[in-house]
Every structure is written in structure tokens, then in C-alpha cells.
């Protein structure tokens, strides 16, 4: 099994979840209120009240094939608004 970590702007959450659902992921977890810095932008907590939103961290445990299915769509979404996606190995308990 793989673990996919996605970190990106809250604003893109609905789009990414659609992509995940289309690829039939078995499930996913969303953690809001993440902040941080990427190559392009600093995202801080104080922007939250402006409606600007902060980042979300999405974790997906799934098989490699599912990742292959959605790779292009996710890259697309992230290329527009920024964000990162990494894969690592994971074994079910």
C-alpha cells in the first residue's frame, strides 16, 4: 500500500476531493488549518479571517494503481494553485 500526502490551498479542496473520488480511493483524511511556506507563497493563520483560507493536508492510503489513475489530474490542480504531493510506502497494521 501507498501513502499519499497532499498539501495545498483549502480553496482547491473540493476539486481535489472530486479527483480522489473519481479514482475510487478507499478513503481519505483532511486536516485543515495547515500553514506553511512553499516556493511561491507564505500562508499564515492570520489570513483565515479574511476568507483567504489556509492550507489543507490530505492523507490517502491506497494502492499504487489508484495513484497512477489520478496522478495527472492532481498535478494539474496543484500546478495552478501551488501545493505539493508525495508518495511513501505504508503497510496496514
Amino acid at each position: 500500500m501507498k501513502r499519499l500526502d497532499l498539501i495545498f490551498s483549502e480553496r482547491e479542496l473540493d476539486a481535489i476531493i472530486k479527483t480522489l473520488e473519481k479514482a475510487d480511493v478507499p478513503g481519505y483524511t483532511v486536516m485543515k488549518h495547515a500553514t506553511g511556506r512553499g516556493p511561491e507563497r507564505v500562508v499564515t493563520e492570520d489570513m483565515e479571517f479574511t476568507g483567504f483560507g489556509s492550507n489543507v493536508h490530505v492523507i490517502v492510503f491506497c494502492e499504487q494503481e489508484i495513484i497512477d489513475k489520478m496522478r495527472d489530474n492532481i498535478r494539474d490542480d496543484l500546478s495552478y494553485y501551488g501545493g505539493v504531493a508525495y508518495i511513501s510506502e505504508a503497510t496496514p497494521l
Binding site: 492570520d46 483565515e48 479571517f49 479574511t50 476568507g51 494553485y81 501551488g82
Partner: protein, 332 residues
């Protein structure tokens, strides 16, 4: 009553709390108002401003002055972004210029209520329908900003994100803060026309609590503004100059229009403040969605780190003396 009006403005609780917040950052205090508490106060203020404005509009009705004033407000929110865009294009690309310009065409509700508090402390009358002007100036500036991107931007933006008119309108009117303000205004209007007892029952929440909540929110705004300030360095002196010059310029145009419309001094100040203030709620949120090419630190840090404090602390009394000087002049 002979104290310097700037000093008197500064010595009001909202401005003092704003300064306390800013000073806490300067002195590296760990005072912090954690998310989402600022959002609570921001939502509350928009709801209360809208609700009370709706009541006032219903009460005053559409007098002679209302329509011309609202029209002039919309006009200013269309023209300011265009002027700002032309100025900013000297230094910035289309995306950044459009985003910053839109912010200055739109308004800051908290600057507006600070001006109201200032007028109240000076015992100068103003009309409730000015909240209508506030509400009407948020969206047009966003529309102009997005149209500028649509037509002036290089033609190679990613296809999937082409900007459709529907998306532009969506961002302009259904943006959370615009929507809450507009719809609360409608609720206030409807309540005043059909359910006057509802007004009395809302009054402790939307009325009595307002000033204190404003202070609390400004405490946070002081913290946020002071945290933003250092980031302005990276924006360069052109943008820093713009963040002070543009409000003054807009205020000057605004006061001429106010005179042309024969607004009383209270309404005139509010009109001027609407012109001079810049948005840090609706516009940044809309721009981030639709113009990710623009650097958010540019349009947020200028409006929040410089223009907002400038208006709150110095701008309002300056605009007041501008109003007091120019309005009574013999007719144009």
C-alpha cells in the same frame, strides 16, 4: 473640544486597541488571538453592519440624496481600479496590477465603522443609507479587476481556468463577506418593514455590543497589520508609496464628488472614507481564487499593513478636515 482631532481620534478605544495590538508585535509580546476567533468578530461585524444598515435604509426611504450618492459610490468603485491599474502597470505585470487596483477600488468595512465612531464622538450626523454605498462598492471593483485580467492578460493562461463571466460574477457577489453583508442588509430591511419588534430584540446584539466587538477585532487587526508591515519591504518603495498616496488621492476625488452631491459633512466623510479605504476581505479572497498569478503578499500587505492603519489612525481626521475645508467653499 479643542484637542487636536488626530489626537482625539487616536484616544478613542477602537484606535487605542488597534495600537495596543500593533505595539504588542513591536515588543514581541506573545499576545495572540487564535483562529477562528478573528473570523467570529469579522462575521459578527458584517452581519451587524448589514442589519443596521438595512433598517436605516428602510426607515429613511429613498430620499433625493440616496440614489445619486449610491450611483456615485458605484462609479468610484469602477473608476478607482482603472486609475490604480494604470499607475501600477508602471512597475507590475497585469495580474498584480489588477489585483492591487481592485483592492483599492473596493472598501474596508472596519475603516467605515471607525469613521462612524469618529463622527459619533464628534457629534456629527450621518445617514444610515451610507451603509448601502458600502455594500454596493464591494463587488464592482472585483468585477473591474477580473475584467482587466481577462482582457489585458497574455493569452496563454491555462485553458482549464479561463475566466468566464459567470465566474467573475460569482466571485463578486457570492464571496462570503460580500454575501453576508448584502444579505444581512436585506434581513434588516425586511425586519424593519414587517416586524419592528424584531429590531428591538436584535438591538442588544447588533447595537449595544457593536462598539466593544469592534475594539476586540481592532486589537487583532493591530496584531495582523504589524505582522504584515515587515513584508512590505520586499514589495519595494513604489508599492509603499502607492499604499499611502492612493488613499489620499481617492479621498480628494471623493471629497469633490461629495461636494458636487451636496452631502452633509457626516455623509461626506463616510463617502470619502469609502473611496480611500482598500479591501482586505472580499478582494483578496476573490483574487486568490481567480488570479493566482498575482502575489498575495502584494495586495494583502499593502492594504492590511499600511493603508488600513493609515486610514484608521491618521486618515479619518485628515479626511474630516479636508471635508470641512472643501465642502463649505463657494460653489464650483
Amino acid at each position: 473640544m479643542e484637542i487636536n482631532p488626530i489626537l482625539q481620534n487616536v484616544l478613542a478605544p477602537p484606535v487605542l486597541f488597534f495600537l495596543i495590538g500593533a505595539i504588542s508585535v513591536l515588543f514581541k509580546s506573545d499576545l495572540e488571538i487564535p483562529a477562528p476567533l478573528p473570523k467570529l468578530f469579522s462575521l459578527y461585524l458584517l452581519l451587524a453592519i448589514g442589519f443596521k444598515g438595512g433598517i436605516e435604509i428602510q426607515k429613511s426611504g429613498f430620499t433625493d440624496q440616496v440614489l445619486p450618492t449610491l450611483g456615485a459610490a458605484i462609479l468610484m468603485s469602477l473608476v478607482i481600479p482603472l486609475v490604480g491599474f494604470l499607475i501600477l502597470r508602471f512597475k507590475f505585470d497585469v495580474f498584480n496590477s489588477a489585483a492591487i487596483a481592485a483592492a483599492y477600488g473596493s472598501i474596508s468595512a472596519v475603516t467605515f465603522i471607525s469613521a462612524e465612531s469618529f463622527l459619533e464622538s464628534q457629534k456629527i450626523d450621518f445617514d444610515g443609507f451610507m451603509v448601502g454605498a458600502l455594500a454596493l462598492m464591494e463587488s464592482p471593483a472585483i468585477i473591474v479587476g477580473l475584467l482587466l485580467v481577462k482582457f489585458a492578460a497574455p493569452q496563454n493562461r491555462p485553458k482549464s481556468r479561463k475566466m468566464h463571466l459567470s465566474a467573475i460574477l460569482h466571485e463578486s457577489f457570492l464571496n462570503g463577506s460580500v454575501y453576508l453583508l448584502l444579505s444581512s442588509l436585506i434581513v434588516g430591511f425586511l425586519t424593519a418593514s414587517s416586524n419592528p419588534s424584531g429590531i428591538t430584540k436584535m438591538e442588544p446584539f447588533t447595537g449595544q455590543l457593536f462598539y466593544g466587538a469592534e475594539c476586540f477585532f481592532l486589537l487583532d487587526m493591530g496584531i495582523v497589520a504589524a505582522q504584515r508591515l515587515p513584508r512590505l519591504k520586499s514589495a519595494g518603495s513604489f508599492l509603499i508609496g502607492f499604499a499611502i498616496f492612493m488613499p489620499l488621492f481617492n479621498a480628494f476625488i471623493g471629497v469633490l464628488i461629495a461636494r458636487f452631491l451636496s452631502l452633509g459633512p457626516g455623509n461626506a466623510l463616510l463617502f470619502v472614507v469609502l473611496c480611500a479605504s482598500a479591501s482586505y476581505l472580499a478582494v483578496p479572497a476573490a483574487m486568490r481564487m481567480t488570479v493566482p498569478e498575482a502575489k498575495s503578499s502584494y495586495y494583502i500587505s499593502t492594504t492590511l499593513g499600511l493603508t488600513f492603519p493609515f486610514n484608521i489612525v491618521l486618515g479619518i481626521p485628515i479626511y474630516m478636515s479636508l471635508v470641512n475645508t472643501i465642502i463649505p467653499l463657494s460653489p464650483l
